[in-house]
Every structure is written in structure tokens, then in C-alpha cells.
């Protein structure tokens, strides 16, 4: 038997996705649109959260959304009620969005006509973490009903996110949600991450979060203008 020989190749497995994501990020920057991706578990209330985000930003900004849905779901129909342009990306059995899907979905859209673009990933806290979508901000959403230790169960996705939103605050008391414990687990897996505590249902806390988004957009445009 011949001795096996080792040949070094060093190939990033997700290179193709990363290349497309970089191109998307550059396209977003050039168009002056701020892109937020949303990751969460099923049942965290992401569709209602996004619906409220879109409808409350809409009087002031031009907003749109891409929604990744498994074949069995149809969040896009619900979101269309916000009257913002919404496009569905059906992922079939695939549990996450990839940069190429975002690129395809955006082909007919003029990004210059937008201020904010939201990309709702498939409800899943595992798979989306590996794939850069070219977004400017990755928002991880969890609800008070999911428990304070959610970040410790899914450290990779929380670590990859830029900001955390804890929603369904109207239920916090009923489920005896421990804010300090939740904050500690988030800071443990992602030190320094900004956390918003809100209720999409009652509107409590939404203002602060929306002001944060507006500030992010302004900062991005200021940076772009300097270049």
C-alpha cells in the first residue's frame, strides 16, 4: 500500500457565500440603504415584531422586507398588511437564507429608493449563524417566554449578532422573567451587546429601538458621505 501524502489546500468552505455577501454589502452602501437581518426561534413573535417595525417606520422612512419562509409558512402575507413592499424567499427545506438568495430576490428592486431593508431569516437559531447576508446589522430576537438561558443554549448565533431584542415584555411578569439573568447570559456570550426590551403588542419600548435604527442609518450615511 502506498503512503498517503498530505497536500495543503486551505479553502474556506463558505467562500462563495462570503464573496456574494461582500458584494451585497457594497451595493447596500452605495445605495444608502441600511439593512437589518432578523434571526430568532420559531414562536418568538418575529413576524409581529417585524410588522410593527415596518408600520411604525413607514411614515418617516422608505422601508421594505425580504422574508425567508419554509415551504409550510407564509409570513409574507401577514407582513403585506403593513403596506411596505414585502417579498418572500421560499427556502423549501433549507433552514436558512444564503447570500445568493438575497441577491436573487433583490434583482428587481431599486435599492436607491429605500432607507431600510429588513431581511427576516428562517425561524431557527442554529443554521443562519454561518451565513453572512451582507447585512449592516444582525438583530437576534428572543421573547420572555423562551427563558433567560436562551443565549447560553445558542451562543454562536447570539455571538454573531450585533443587537438583541427581548420581546413580549407584556408577558414578563406572568412568566416571572428574570431580567438580570437574561442580561447576564446575553453579555456572557456577546459582551457589550446592546439590548432592547420591548413589547411589539403594546408598543412599550418600541420608540427607543426605532430611534436606535434611525441613528444607525444616519451614521452609515455620514460615513458613506465622507468616503
Amino acid at each position: 500500500m502506498s503512503e498517503p501524502r498530505l497536500v495543503e489546500v486551505r479553502r474556506n468552505v463558505l467562500k462563495q457565500n462570503d464573496v456574494i455577501a461582500r458584494a451585497l454589502r457594497e451595493q447596500f452602501r452605495a445605495a444608502g440603504v441600511f439593512v437589518v437581518s432578523l434571526v430568532s426561534s420559531p414562536g418568538s413573535g418575529k413576524t409581529m415584531f417585524l410588522e410593527k417595525t415596518l408600520s411604525q417606520l413607514q411614515p418617516h422612512y422608505r422601508v421594505a422586507a425580504l422574508v425567508g419562509d419554509l415551504a409550510t409558512e407564509n409570513d409574507a402575507v401577514r407582513l403585506a398588511r403593513s403596506k411596505a413592499p414585502v417579498k418572500q424567499i421560499t427556502t423549501g427545506t433549507l433552514c436558512h437564507l444564503e447570500a445568493a438568495m438575497v441577491q436573487n430576490a433583490l434583482q428587481e428592486w431599486d435599492l436607491h429608493q429605500l432607507d431600510f431593508l429588513f431581511i427576516e431569516n428562517v425561524g431557527n437559531l442554529v443554521c443562519p449563524s454561518s451565513y453572512d447576508l451582507g447585512e449592516n446589522l444582525r438583530l437576534v430576537l428572543m421573547s420572555v417566554t423562551e427563558g433567560e438561558d436562551k443565549p447560553l443554549k445558542y451562543p454562536t448565533i447570539f455571538n454573531s449578532a450585533d443587537v438583541a431584542v427581548v420581546t413580549k415584555n407584556e408577558l414578563a411578569e406572568a412568566v416571572e422573567f428574570d431580567w438580570n439573568a437574561a442580561r447576564t447570559s446575553i453579555q456572557s456570550v456577546r459582551p457589550g451587546m446592546q439590548i432592547f426590551r420591548l413589547s411589539a403588542k403594546t408598543g412599550e419600548g418600541m420608540e427607543e429601538y426605532l430611534a436606535f435604527l434611525a441613528q444607525q442609518l444616519a451614521e452609515q450615511r455620514a460615513t458613506t458621505a465622507q468616503i
Partner: protein, 120 residues
């Protein structure tokens, strides 16, 4: 589960490299970071599936686990984390997000047969 699509990308990359070199691959060495978001056991299983009916059928996937290495701003040293649940220096406890290693998902090397022997 996204390990099957990852496994298919690994097979594609390995095939591309092996065809370019005109060699037969017996094993693929992968560097897998603790922050890559990929589950090793699921990946090993998916790899076999992804290899079916390709020249890589029967080859092995050898996974090298890469821990998370961070830079501690207080110690001014790189430190290896023992858990991805706590991003803090294991020596002094200072929280840090300065990740230097641990996101790898890389086909690092191919093990090739020296002679052009195709196993039957």
C-alpha cells in the same frame, strides 16, 4: 440542519482541488471552529451522503476542532476559551469580543494516494 449543504460545499472544494492536481483523494482534513455554527456529528454523517456517486466516495473526513481564541485587552495576551458560553479572559475575567480564532470552516488539506490506484 444545514450540515448537508456545508458537506456538499466541502466535497465541491475538495473535488475541485483534486481534479486540478489530477490526484485521488482518500481523506479531507477540515478545520472546524467552535464558532462556525456547524455540528460535527451531523457534518460527518452528511459528508458520507454528499460523497455518494462522486470520485470522493469512500473517502474520510478528518475534523480538527479549533477552539475560540480571544485577545484579552487587560492581559495583552491571546487566550483560549474553554466554553463558547463565556466570552471572557480565563485568567482575569475581562470580557472580550476580540476573536482571533474559532470561526474556521476550512478545507485545510487533502490526503492523496501517491499512485493512480482507484480502489474497486
Amino acid at each position: 440542519m444545514h450540515e448537508l449543504s456545508i458537506a456538499m460545499s466541502i466535497v465541491d472544494a475538495a473535488l475541485d482541488e483534486s481534479q486540478r492536481r489530477g490526484v485521488q483523494v482518500s481523506a479531507v482534513h477540515l478545520r472546524l471552529g467552535a464558532l462556525s455554527g456547524v455540528v460535527k456529528d451531523a457534518l460527518l454523517f452528511s459528508y458520507e451522503v454528499a460523497c455518494q456517486d462522486t470520485p470522493l466516495q469512500g473517502s474520510r473526513l478528518i475534523v480538527e476542532d479549533i477552539p475560540v481564541v480571544v485577545f484579552c485587552p487587560r492581559c495583552q495576551e491571546v487566550r483560549t476559551l474553554s466554553s463558547v458560553q463565556l466570552f471572557a479572559c480565563p485568567e482575569c475575567g475581562t470580557p472580550t469580543m476580540d476573536v482571533r480564532q474559532g470561526k474556521e470552516l476550512e478545507v485545510f488539506a487533502l490526503e492523496i494516494e501517491e499512485e493512480e490506484e482507484v480502489q474497486g
